[in-house]
């Protein structure tokens, strides 16, 4: 199982490095425009959680859920969009009222940009008026460690209000397009990075599982050998006894 997961991990990591470039490049626009998330009172935040459908990979899903629950205590005014079944079942127990959308079928394979686009289209159609969109995903640090982090996606108004907006000289009509596209980019980045984390965590989990099973196998092997020995000894004793008995006759 570890070998299977290892091969998957190389593929997932390659996907992650590529998608990271997409995400970083698309966020460059906001960085050079010096866009800051607007602190608007009374407006809800939209949080997109990037988990996946499959378990057996250690604590990466519950890490995300814990992050959300912590967030919920300090700032409860938000809506949740959940990608993946695992976080859905965890968060539906505590934060069911915040959930507005959930997606299933995420993370079967390396995420594609088409997936990210389809999700972004659904998210854009949400009726709520959100001050900002935050994407929460597992940041890949190395093969054994990862931590929940966020990518911010901005609305048109915040981009319009950013201090360096005038240097871009774009018409206002294209801004919704930019928003949709950068949301898809960020989602793609978050999904791929989350996927790589999941696979690496699963590799470790499988490694541990094999190790634990190894101990068990050793124990049972010894037990089996002892029993076999006992059975053989018993049979030998019977045969010899029989032979000696028939010799005397």
């Amino acid at each position: 199982m570890k070998i299977v997961a290892s091969t998957k991990l190389t593929r997932a990591q390659r996907g992650m490095t590529e998608s990271r470039k997409y995400g970083e490049t698309s966020n460059e626009v906001y960085a050079s425009a010096e866009t800051k998330a607007a602190e608007v009172e009374g407006k809800k935040k939209l949080i997109i959680v990037c988990s996946s459908d499959k378990g057996l990979c250690g604590g990466i899903h519950s890490g995300l859920s814990r992050y959300i629950r912590r967030e919920a205590v300090s700032n409860p005014n938000f809506d949740l969009v959940i990608l993946g079944e695992k976080c859905r079942s965890q968060l539906s127990r505590t934060n069911a009222r915040n959930i507005v959308l959930n997606f299933a079928g995420v993370g079967k394979d390396v995420p594609t940009f088409a997936d990210a686009q389809a999700i972004a289209d659904q998210v854009v159609q949400l009726s709520g008026d959100y001050s900002e969109v935050e994407i929460i995903y597992n940041k890949f640090i190395n093969a054994t460690s990862y931590e929940p982090s966020t990518i911010a996606a901005f609305s048109e108004e915040t981009f319009l209000a950013s201090p360096n907006y005038s240097s871009f000289e774009v018409e206002e009509e294209v801004l919704p397009n930019l928003r949709e596209y950068s949301l898809a980019n960020s989602l793609f980045w978050a999904l791929s990075e989350g996927h790589a984390c999941e696979i690496s965590a699963r590799r470790n989990a499988m490694d541990n599982a094999s190790k634990n099973a190894g101990e068990m196998i050793n124990k049972y092997q010894i037990l089996f050998n002892r029993t076999r020995q006992a059975v053989i000894t018993g049979e030998l004793v019977e045969i010899i006894t029989g032979a000696t008995a028939s010799e005397d006759m």
């Binding site: 539906s92 069911a96 009222r97 959930i99 507005v100 959308l101 959930n102 997606f103 299933a104 079928g105 995420v106 079967k108 594609t112 940009f113 088409a114 997936d115 686009q117 389809a118 999700i119 972004a120 289209d121 659904q122 854009v124 159609q125 018409e171 009509e173 294209v174 919704p176 397009n177 949709e180 596209y181 898809a184």
Partner: protein, 76 residues
């Protein structure tokens, strides 16, 4: 600036996806099969209201329905 695809109710992402599909389909046979798999979307989703999960729907179908609805709506 108005775009033809915007009037047809498509979002920018959908517009990109269609363009990408056209490029993939024009590839040579061996490359095309691998590339077309990258364009497949097999997601399902559900809307939640008041802490209750709604019915699962296919994302691709729901998106298509939304485009049609937007295209039929009077353009402002």
């Amino acid at each position: 600036m108005t775009f033809a695809w915007k009037q047809a109710g498509l979002t920018y992402n959908r517009y990109l996806a269609v363009a990408a599909r056209v490029v993939r389909r024009s590839l040579k046979e061996d490359k095309r099969l691998a590339a077309e798999r990258r364009g497949d979307v097999d997601l399902r989703f559900a809307k939640w209201t008041n802490g209750k999960q709604g019915d699962m729907q296919n994302v691709a179908d729901a998106n298509a329905a939304a485009y049609v609805e937007k295209a039929n709506a009077p353009s402002s």
